[in-house]
């Protein structure tokens, strides 16, 4: 129990200053009741864990394994950050506003979503007790790397690892998070990786749901939550202790924060969006692709005059710490990606131009899209058709463009992979779709009309 409480403290502690900072950005207005505060809390979970994984990385490089000394130092730093954030937040403006009334339909839908969420949480906990070490990649890579970090001898030791099967080029947000939780727990408790997985899974559902509720009303948020809870992979992959659901949560956070920055004229949210995108790159190599895609899509918007150039600077400032950590890690570990190791340009080009590979990828993608979540994409499409489209002025296309670019990038990687293509598609395609799914649900919700009845108009710019 002590270890579990310590691990829980390691999740909650970084969320506190993150919440206080995000509250000032996301929730300066009281118009939507508790939704902005709940969204700030949901965003604070993955962003807090991501930011502290950067601190832990610095400790691993300079000192060694994060143990009790690290836990004490981090707790002191976070307490100071929370105090400063609380002081800054107290000066943030707070404007009054009317709250949308709860309709009978809202209440019924919320009750159903609440029951579904409780059942999903119970299944998560039961499975985590039955299979406490997670699934294959959790043993093979993520928790292995966490153990390597937690047991490292001296500065940088955890980065020079001769266990070649562990995808040594994969970035470290998740292993460092588990190692942090172990440091606070005082032991390598098996509850720690499960607790981290639960936090990221909850965030992957809550962030897009609450962001949709903030942007398009309570009913929209409940619909997004319901669609995500209807996707069995959210729980099954989340409790597997893989990095795909953490990545999904961070991508959804980045999209939500950019949307907030745009719709509410809250430029500070772009710094947080940059942090989310940078942390996505610090989670998996696919996150690098997603961060680059976000930068490209927003740069295109800036070039078209739809976004001020300083918005890109804010995004870059937020992403910089995590991207620097990625660069330092890649240089220091010296591990090369399987995509590039020992390959010539000619080999890569030959694979890229092989039409049979493209056909296999597209047919696998079509099949996986149909199977994903037992047909949940059809459910999402049906719901989108039933609720209709919002006004053209409030129907952003950039989130869909971002996810389209990311999916195209995934297809390109499949084209040139040196592994057996059929095997790689079979073992990874569903997880790649899951990485984009919460953000896609939010992207579709942002194109819907405001679904709240009797809600006060959105705040003036």
């Amino acid at each position: 129990v002590r270890a579990l409480l310590g691990a829980a403290l390691a999740v909650a502690l970084p969320a506190a200053p993150s919440f206080l900072l995000l509250r000032a950005t996301v929730a300066p207005l009281r118009a939507e009741g508790r939704v902005p505060l709940a969204l700030a809390a949901a965003l604070a979970l993955p962003l807090g864990l991501g930011a502290t994984s950067l601190l832990a990385f610095g400790w691993v490089v300079l000192v060694g394994a994060p143990g009790s000394g690290y836990a004490v130092a981090e707790a002191a730093l976070l307490a100071a950050a929370a105090w400063a954030a609380a002081a800054a937040g107290a000066r943030a403006p707070a404007a009054p506003g009317g709250r949308a009334p709860w309709t009978r339909g809202d209440r019924a839908l919320a009750a159903a979503i609440g029951v579904a969420a409780c059942a999903a949480a119970a299944a998560f906990v039961l499975t985590s007790r039955r299979v406490p070490d997670g699934d294959w990649d959790a043993w093979a890579m993520w928790n292995l790397r966490a153990r390597l970090i937690a047991r490292a001898d001296g500065p940088g030791a955890a980065l020079a690892i001769p266990v070649a099967h562990a995808h040594l080029d994969y970035p470290l947000l998740l292993p460092l998070t588990v190692a942090r939780l172990w440091a606070f727990a005082g032991a390598q408790a098996k509850a720690a990786p499960a607790l981290a997985a639960l936090a990221f899974t909850a965030a992957a559902v809550a962030i897009p749901s609450l962001a949709a509720a903030l942007a398009r009303g309570r009913r929209a948020g409940l619909l997004v939550a319901g669609v995500l809870l209807a996707t069995h992979e959210v729980v099954s992959q989340g409790r597997a202790q893989y990095a795909d659901v953490p990545l999904a949560a961070l991508v959804a956070a980045a999209v939500a924060l950019v949307a907030i920055a745009e719709e509410r004229r809250a430029p500070a949210a772009l710094v947080a969006a940059g942090l989310a995108a940078g942390c996505a790159a610090w989670t998996k190599n696919e996150g690098l692709l997603l961060a680059a895609a976000l930068a490209a899509v927003l740069a295109a918007r800036a070039a078209a005059g739809r976004l001020p150039a300083r918005a890109l600077a804010a995004l870059a400032a937020g992403a910089a710490p995590a991207l620097l950590a990625v660069a330092a890690f890649k240089v220091r570990s010296g591990a090369e990606s399987y995509l590039t190791a020992g390959r010539t340009a000619g080999e890569v080009l030959a694979l890229a131009l092989d039409p049979s590979r493209a056909a296999l990828i597209l047919s696998s993608l079509a099949g996986e899209l149909a199977r994903f979540g037992h047909g949940v994409l059809a459910l999402g499409a049906a719901v989108a058709l039933l609720v209709g489209r919002g006004d053209a002025a409030r129907r952003p296309a950039w989130p869909l463009a971002l996810l389209g670019v990311a999916l195209a990038g995934y297809v390109a990687v499949y084209l040139v992979t040196p592994h057996d293509l059929a095997w790689q598609l079979r073992t990874s395609l569903a997880r790649l779709l899951l990485q984009l799914w919460p953000a896609l649900a939010l992207a579709v919700a942002l194109r819907a009309p405001d679904l709240s009845e009797g809600r006060a108009p959105p705040p003036a710019a």
């Binding site: 339909g105 019924a108 839908l109 159903a112 979503i113 029951v115 579904a116 969420a117 059942a119 999903a120 119970a122 299944a123 039961l126 499975t127 007790r129 039955r130 299979v131 406490p132 070490d133 294959w136 043993w139 093979a140 928790n143 292995l144 153990r147 390597l148 937690a150 047991r151 490292a152 001898d153 690892i161 001769p162 266990v163 099967h165 390598q188 098996k190 009913r219 409940l222 619909l223 939550a225 319901g226 669609v227 809870l229 209807a230 996707t231 069995h232 729980v235 099954s236 979540g373 037992h374 949940v376 459910l379 049906a382 719901v383 039933l386 609720v387 209709g388 679904l451």
Partner: protein, 135 residues
């Protein structure tokens, strides 16, 4: 009844009903599946096997850097979990690296072991670590 507002309300109510039913069905199915699979003993226990291996590692001769192990007595999940759980412990002790030389059917373990100059043997429920240069 034929007003646009009524039609919009009906469509939105249908969307809500569809989503509520789908979320409840998926979550309930997941919970029922898990309740059926429930067992009081965890199906994997890296920590326990890691402790066993730690004891073996403590008995390794000085300078030993690579070990292999294989246990046919464990199901694949426990087997794989322990395989990857032991590697960091060996790394910490030896500073350089551990060989992880195992596979579910044992044949791959032999093959990997052969590549690394190790011999591996196993019998039900017991580990045999055959260190090069030692009896």
């Amino acid at each position: 009844v034929s007003s646009p507002a009524f039609a919009t309300g009906t469509r939105r109510a249908a969307a809500a009903a569809l989503v509520a039913a789908s979320a409840l069905a998926a979550s309930a199915a997941g919970l029922v599946r898990e309740l059926r699979a429930w067992s009081p003993r965890p199906q994997s226990d890296v920590a326990a096997l890691d402790a066993q291996v730690s004891a073996l590692v403590a008995a390794l001769p000085a300078g030993a850097r690579e070990v292999g192990w294989w246990s046919p007595a464990h199901d694949e999940a426990r087997f794989q979990g322990a395989q990857y759980g032991l590697a960091p412990r060996l790394l910490r002790r030896d500073g350089v690296g551990a060989a992880v030389l195992a596979d579910a059917d044992g044949a791959a373990a032999e093959a990997y072991g052969g590549q690394r100059g190790l011999r591996i043997a196993a019998s039900a429920g017991r580990f045999h670590l055959l260190i090069p240069g030692t009896p």
